[in-house]
């Protein structure tokens, strides 16, 4: 396993992207907040409204604020045309700017309100125009307080910018999110370490400028500003050296299977001569729209997810019909090409410990009906509210003695320790094989299928090279191979692998 010190040097790109994003957001927030503060100092109403709105923004969790800009920008395409980016830098910039507004605005307004009355009267008395008063008196006297606000905003923004990963903007959040999902703690620590270091460095530099302003020391003020400018320029230069040609962007949702499949797809495309880029850990809700709008190019999604979330269907016409309907719907409505099914499902299923199932003589959901009142069922926290559970319960008339919620990781432990007899599992989860669990058959077809399907954005839907490179994946990945790869990434022992290593193993197992 790589240590944090091996990982840090490789984070240069992410750091540069993080610096550029944060600096842009703070700069933009200053451009908005400072004139607004001047206006607010002239009008109590403006002051109250501006501060209330900025405070309101702060009450929205940063993660949600970032995600909200995706549908907003998508709807704005009606006005600005399809060239408007909906993922990546633009929405991240907008959300972080909103977030940075409050501390800057509040400090600037407070600084203005606390200016010595006598000094302001003197400014009028000696004949300053409003502009001269602002430039010669109000701005320089408020500057140290405004700088303190900018410092606060910078620390917040640099921290919150790690969340930009979820909307496809590269940042120091990339290693954090990837590490969290694959339980690679060195990766998580490296990302946290880098972003905390950046925040501290920015805080200290801006502190130097603040003290310089307060003590009227030009050396400190301009020295601090020069170092800040140099840092931003270096980051811009580092970003500028990347190629500007559009690469093929492969998305993954935040769980191991998605990371592995993204690496598998990427490796095949690179072997075919394509330049690829990964957008790891995208929010599940964002991925589908992002493919449809060509903000990303390739994603693996699941039929059941699209069926309920986008087609808004609640019936279950069977695995084959569901796939055909989705494929046609995607082509017709979104221009998205569903290249095909990878061959495995990541469905909800009910699993039991092998010995327990044998002892009770249970192999299918139908066998459970009579025994259920004596048994305890465990599910992830949302499971008992999901349509899948309701469908199964009603189709078989299942009445369990007890139902309990567990975090997904602990469900398997609960099964082992006997705290639960049956759990809701994911069929491609590596722990099914590792723990020798029995997946109960579903003769009534109550559970919808979750075939993993490969989706291509309209931009590359007709790209023969891409299709040729990816066609061999269709139907090639068995659920056993996928489970093994997932387990390799999820396990905690010395055999733990990175998603890239697991992808290589998966390719071998699939005979590619």
């Amino acid at each position: 396993m790589a240590t944090i010190w091996d990982i840090l040097p490789g984070l240069g790109d992410k750091l540069a992207a993080h610096v550029v994003l944060s600096a842009s957001a703070i700069g933009l927030a200053m451009l908005i907040a400072l004139p607004m503060a001047v206006w607010a100092s002239r009008s109590a109403v403006v002051s109250r409204v501006a501060l209330s709105l900025a405070s309101l923004v702060q009450t929205i969790p940063a993660l949600a604020l970032l995600a909200l800009f995706f549908p907003l920008l998508l709807s704005l395409r009606a006005v600005f045309g399809d060239g408007l980016p909906t993922l990546g830098f633009l929405p991240a910039l907008m959300a972080l700017t909103l977030y940075a507004l409050l501390p800057i605005l509040r400090n600037a307004v407070t600084a203005q309100a606390n200016l010595d009355e006598g000094v302001l009267e003197a400014a009028d008395g000696v004949g300053m125009t409003k502009w001269q008063k602002l430039v010669l008196v109000e701005a320089p006297l408020s500057a140290p307080f405004i700088m303190a606000g900018i410092r606060t905003a910078s620390v917040w923004t640099i921290g919150a910018a790690t969340l930009a990963t979820t909307i496809g903007q590269p940042s120091l959040g990339d290693p954090i999110f990837a590490g969290l999902q694959t339980q690679n703690w060195a990766l998580v620590l490296a990302g946290c370490f880098a972003s905390a270091g950046l925040a501290l460095a920015a805080d200290n530099l801006l502190w130097v400028i603040e003290v310089g302003l307060a003590k009227r020391s030009r050396a400190m003020t301009f020295g601090g500003m020069a170092v800040v400018a140099a840092g931003i320029l270096a980051a811009l230069w580092a970003q500028g050296t990347g190629s500007e040609e559009r690469r093929i962007i492969i998305a993954s949702k935040p769980f191991s299977e998605q990371y592995i499949l993204a690496q598998l797809i990427g490796a095949r495309l690179e072997a075919a001569g394509y330049a690829v880029e990964y957008r790891d850990g995208l929010g599940s809700a964002v991925v589908h729209s992002a493919v449809a709008s060509s903000s990303i190019d390739i994603a693996v999604d699941y039929t059941g997810t699209i069926w309920t979330n986008y087609l808004k269907r609640t019936d279950n016409p069977g695995r084959e019909a569901m796939y055909q309907t989705i494929r046609d719907w995607e082509a017709r409505e979104n221009g998205v090409k569903v290249l095909g099914r990878l061959g495995f499902e990541n469905a909800y299923a009910f699993a039991m410990r092998g010995d327990r199932a044998r002892a009770l003589g249970i192999t299918s959901l139908g066998d459970l009906v009579g025994k259920a009142p004596q048994l305890t069922v465990g599910g992830d926290p949302e499971f008992f509210e999901r349509p899948e559970w309701i469908a199964v319960r009603d189709a078989y008339g299942l009445r369990f003695g007890k139902s309990r919620n567990f975090a997904p990781t602990f469900m398997y432990n609960a099964l082992q320790s006997g705290e639960a007899d049956v759990i809701s599992a994911y069929t491609s989860d590596g722990r099914i094989a590792a723990d020798k669990l029995v997946v109960l058959a579903d003769p009534e077809g109550a559970l919808p299928s979750y075939d993993a399907i490969l989706m291509l954005s309209p931009r590359i839907a007709a790209d023969k090279g891409v299709i040729a490179a990816l066609q061999p994946l269709i139907g090639a990945i068995s659920v056993e191979a996928m489970r093994e790869a997932n387990l390799a990434v999820d396990r905690e022992d010395a055999k733990k692998q990175t998603p890239m290593q697991a992808a290589e193993g998966l390719a071998k197992a699939a005979g590619l």
Binding site: D116, E121, A122, G125, V126, M128, T129, R216
Partner: protein, 260 residues
């Protein structure tokens, strides 16, 4: 004696702030070269009236004429360069040196004051030229107000208006600075209007005392006439305070003599 053309004329000035009428119709002329004290209790409207001169306050009705021109028609920044303003809050710019504070008015007009002129202005208010480089927070209260006066005089104003200029100073400094301002008034041929609530200060410095009460001008007398009992009840009540204090002090001295 023939009255010279007035430099300043208040013409039916009324100032209202919402429900409150601070100045309720004041008309009077102030001759060039005179030193006028505007006296009254707190809330009598004297400061408000004074601030209509440099348009820090705009009258609700009536007008203020400066050199025959309605001040509301003059560009505020230009007007305020011709009217030196000294006030209780002093308001030195804390981020400017003493020299920069003094030079601000001319600087706004695009003129750079040479160091000799700064030294001359400092000398006028009896401060050492070495003060030029100091920052305001390194000065005592009295020194600050001296700089405030020098700043008001830097642009060579025709009129000096002062709002409780010595109100925050200790009595010794207050007396010394009062005399200094009176002396500068004579030397530079200024016209001066000083707002104060201290009748003794008004009587000792001014050559004309206006008394305000509840927004109205209730007396307009020379100091000598006020001491002789003119000006009506409000004015006499204000005059009686320093007079009685002086009498008590004199009596104390007398009895001290007697005891010896």
């Amino acid at each position: 004696m023939e009255t010279p053309a007035p430099l300043l004329r208040f013409d039916g000035v009324i100032c209202r702030f919402g429900e409150v009428t601070a100045v309720g119709g004041v008309s009077c002329d102030i001759a060039a070269g005179s030193f006028v004290a505007l006296v009254g209790a707190s809330g009598s409207g004297k400061s408000t009236l004074l601030k209509t001169v440099n348009t820090l306050v705009h009258p609700s009705e009536g007008r203020v004429l400066f050199g025959g021109e309605d001040v509301s028609t003059l560009e505020p920044a230009r007007l305020r360069r011709r009217v030196g303003y000294v006030f209780q809050g002093i308001g030195l710019f804390p981020h400017f040196s003493v020299a920069e504070n003094i030079a601000i008015g001319p600087r706004l007009a695009g003129e750079k004051l040479p160091p000799e002129r700064i030294a001359e202005l400092l000398a006028l208010v009896e401060l050492d030229p070495a003060f030029a480089k100091r920052m305001p927070d390194a000065l005592s209260g009295g020194q600050r107000q001296r700089v405030g006066v020098a700043r008001a005089l830097a642009g060579g104003p025709e009129l000096l208006i002062m709002d409780e200029p010595f109100g925050a100073l200790d009595p010794v400094t207050r007396d010394a600075l009062g005399r200094k301002v009176r002396e500068l008034h004579e030397r530079l041929g200024l016209t001066t209007v000083m707002v104060t609530h201290d009748m003794a200060e008004a009587l000792l410095l001014a050559d004309r005392v206006l008394v305000m009460d509840k927004g109205a001008l209730v007396a307009d007398e020379t100091p000598r006439a006020l001491l002789a009992g003119a000006g009506g009840t409000v004015a006499q009540r204000l005059v009686s305070v320093p007079r009685e204090q002086a009498e008590r002090l004199a009596a104390m001295e007398g009895s001290g003599e007697a005891q010896r």
